[in-house]
Amino acid sequence: MPTADETSKILGASGPEIVPASAPFGSCPIPIFDHKRIVLGHGSGGKLTADLIEKIFLPAFRNPTLDKMDDQAVLKIGDLRLAFTTDSFVVTPIFFPGGDIGRLAIHGTVNDLAMSGARPLYLSAAFILEEGLAVDDLRRVVESMRAAAAEAGVQLVTGDTKVVNRGKGDQIFITTTGIGIIENDVNISADQASPGDKIILSGTIGDHGMTIMSQREGLEFEGAIESDCASLNELVITMLSTSTSTQRRDFIHTMRDPTRGGVATTLNEIASRANVGIVIDQRSIPIRESVKGACEVLGLDPLYVANEGKLLAFVVPEMAEAVLHRMRQHPLGSNAAVIGEAVDTHPGMVLMKTEIGGTRVLDVMFGEQLPRIC
């Protein structure tokens, strides 16, 4: 059996440093540990991720475009406004009900562009393949990407391939970039959300995240539960073409797809960027029974579970009904609902009226959402 000596040898290896902090409440040093190593939580889209961005990436690369921190960069080149984005896909398992890593890569990138109101045009894809990956699996992924690109009306115009040793890359990683054009009268970004805006959610929450989780946790689902992975650009065009008396297309202030971190995290990001308060009604949020059941069983909160084919839109109140109506006519928006509104009280804070009539503050997710027993 391992002895204390062997143990302390291992414990002597580097772990987080205990840094005594100067405490305003007395002279005793309080151990506070900062992350000296990347942990899984850094990738989950919540506070840890934001922390990493703020502390490591932003300071190094700071510029006005990056500082806007939208899902896409809007670049002005001459008279043209380009939306430019990048994303990487590391999902496991690589094949899942409703999609695969390839389909996810195309739709995820298209959506990042579409959320700024851009017309997505061209994508690139770089593949990092693990030694030992079945060529048939690669073929399947690539065919899926072909079909997804065709669905979205985009072209893959450049790419790259690398192979890493077995064990150094989880079968396949895909990194993409995408560019699109934003028409002149369209101006959509997080910081434009305004008090009074109605918040529309395009459909049911938690489908993608719970599909992935269910594959890992060995949950079976009755009835179809699958990833909602889809390109939203057509839906966005439909929304933008809602007829208005002014003929202007400035009635959508903000759009974002609630991917990692879920609806709650995305609403917080917008509330923070635009410095508005948000109030939503739990009873108005569409969710499938099976997703709800899975969340209950695992002790997860669906508001923090990833979605890959849904969007949140902040719409001027007088146009909300009309936009909702247009959305419901599109297959990807058939379950669309107004879930709340932006307010001028409690700026930066997201509140939810719970199903029993109580109140809850929705904070940003911290790290990984873990199944709990308590």
Binding site: K47, A50, E54, S214, G218, L219, E220, F221, E222, G223, I225, S272, G277, R288, E289, S290, V291, K292, G293, A294, E296, V297, G299, T345, H346, P347, G348, M349, D363, V364, R372, I373, C374
Partner: protein, 102 residues
């Protein structure tokens, strides 16, 4: 402590010497161990905690008590004297939120 969820037993089977069941929770199906409620049959509801059924839900009792809950507002009770000051609520003053979350 104690995240335990009610679910419906769909089928029972034996595995590795343990009596098990497939239990349905609102559209999700998961295995649970029935060793502690061996008399439970398919179609009945159980309370499941960390993969173990701990008790059989008494449907008649559930119906009876839920009915009592629903009738609560219809009971005629004499109004007990209530102290108005008990119900003071502080006016909410919005606090500036630091987006860094600290």
């Amino acid at each position: 402590m104690c995240l335990a969820i009610p679910g419906k037993v769909l089928s029972t089977f034996d595995q590795h010497g343990l009596h098990m069941a497939k239990v349905q929770f609102g559209g999700v199906v998961r295995e649970a161990c029935l060793e502690y409620v061996p008399e439970v049959q398919a179609g009945e509801y159980v309370l499941v905690h960390v993969g173990f059924a701990l008790s059989r839900i008494d449907e008649a009792e559930a119906e009876r008590t839920y009915q009592a809950l629903r009738e609560l507002g219809q009971l005629t009770e004499l109004e007990a004297p209530v102290d108005d000051e008990l119900d003071e609520r502080t006016q909410f003053v919005p606090v500036k939120v630091d987006p860094g979350g600290n």
